[in-house]
Symmetry: C2
């Protein structure tokens, strides 16, 4: 059945349902953006209460993903969307999954904050992490804007910026190694900070994946120039063999 | 339209398409299981060639995910599956995504092998990692068997076993901390080994997520007893404050 064979009534109601799901995605995106920034702030301010709040708020993010999946499944079950509408619905489910993962990373970050506040701070680390988090939050915001505005150029821009985040992560990795070698008492704190940095780097990957979904459902394919892969720390040795 | 309204011909052809997708899932699962074991072996045997092969083979896993997604999307576009068939198709896409992630972790593990072979081995680490990988590979195998046989009990069993993997990870985390504190020259190797252990722990989460998909599409819901959450290392301090 092509769209033109459907009554205007059915098409309208389908559009309305799709708009409802997209509104849920934006709401979910807003919660996730807030979680990223608040998790980073809780670390920098050594604010355990804020960290606790971030951990609790993750349940609302998970519930929204569940709701989006159910609405999308209902939409697919009730109607037979055209190929391009189908692409949108499937993208929505993937985007919801990406947002849920980013939310999980923010929650994990907040968990580690609660532990890190017990330890001697590592000089400069929490500021660097906050900047990294801010960059990723900006990428996520733009990826979602690109999604709503069906703007593949903005989406491509997000994809480029993932490179910066990777560089920030690699620089932090080297710094943590140095701190650990200088003083073994730094090891535990640096392990946690390193995890946090890695998780933010992964958030960036998920924001990039959202922007690739946008490119995919606007253009029907994802540009092949395999985006520069992130984690070069596997080649770090820092002299310690 | 209910199933009984469809002609036997259409139902048959739908079933055949679904079987085709499920065969692709099993094929993908086989490749991913092999990747887990080979990545762990390459680390233990310090076999760079094997590690290189694991890295290269990941492309075939990614290609299968792409193929499964396209077949599933085509199936949804061409037919209007019943609610329960729809649940199966959506589960298949999620399972493919889980498998792809596990494959990525195996590839990342193999990358780190290539670096670790340059360093002094950490006593006992690669054996412990191989055992952990073997456990996760067994979970994945059973999760996929549970999927093919629609066996929610086997799926529940997989979910329980994730706990063991978490304990193995936590034990390794403590061990790596000790090695690093003992001798700073161990730090870089331990950081890589720790990443590998964490990635195997995450593979376990994805195998669990596959088994939850099985439970979901057989029973229509996921048991609420929030499975014991994995990463307790956030509470590790090992005396170093």
């Amino acid at each position: 059945m092509t769209d033109s064979m459907q009554s205007p009534h059915i098409v309208k109601s389908y559009d309305r349902d799709l708009e409802g799901i997209q509104a849920s995605i934006m709401k979910m995106g807003g919660l996730v953006e807030a979680a990223i920034l608040e998790a980073a702030n809780s670390l920098e301010m050594r604010d355990e209460e804020l960290a606790e709040r971030v951990r609790k708020n993750d349940a609302a993010i998970d519930a929204l993903e569940e709701q989006i999946n159910q609405e999308a499944a209902r939409l697919l079950a009730l109607r037979q969307p055209s190929a391009s509408d189908l692409r949108v619905v499937l993208s929505v489910m993937k985007i919801a999954a990406n947002l849920e993962r980013i939310g999980d990373y923010a929650k994990n970050m907040a968990k580690r904050t609660s532990v890190l506040v017990q330890m001697t701070p590592i000089e400069g680390a929490s500021g660097a992490i906050r900047r990294m988090a801010k960059t990723v939050e900006g990428m996520l915001k733009d990826a979602l804007d690109a999604y709503i505005q069906r703007d593949p150029e903005l989406a491509l821009d997000v994809r480029q910026r993932d490179h910066e985040v990777d560089q920030m992560y690699n620089a932090l990795f080297r710094e943590f190694l140095t701190f650990m070698m200088e003083d073994p008492r730094n090891i535990t704190a640096c392990m946690h900070l390193h995890f946090i940095a890695k998780n933010i780097e992964r958030m960036g990957d998920h924001a990039t994946s959202i922007s690739e979904q946008v490119i995919y459902f606007v253009t029907g394919s994802i540009p092949e120039d395999a985006r520069p892969k992130s984690d070069t720390t596997v080649y770090e040795t820092t002299g310690a063999k």
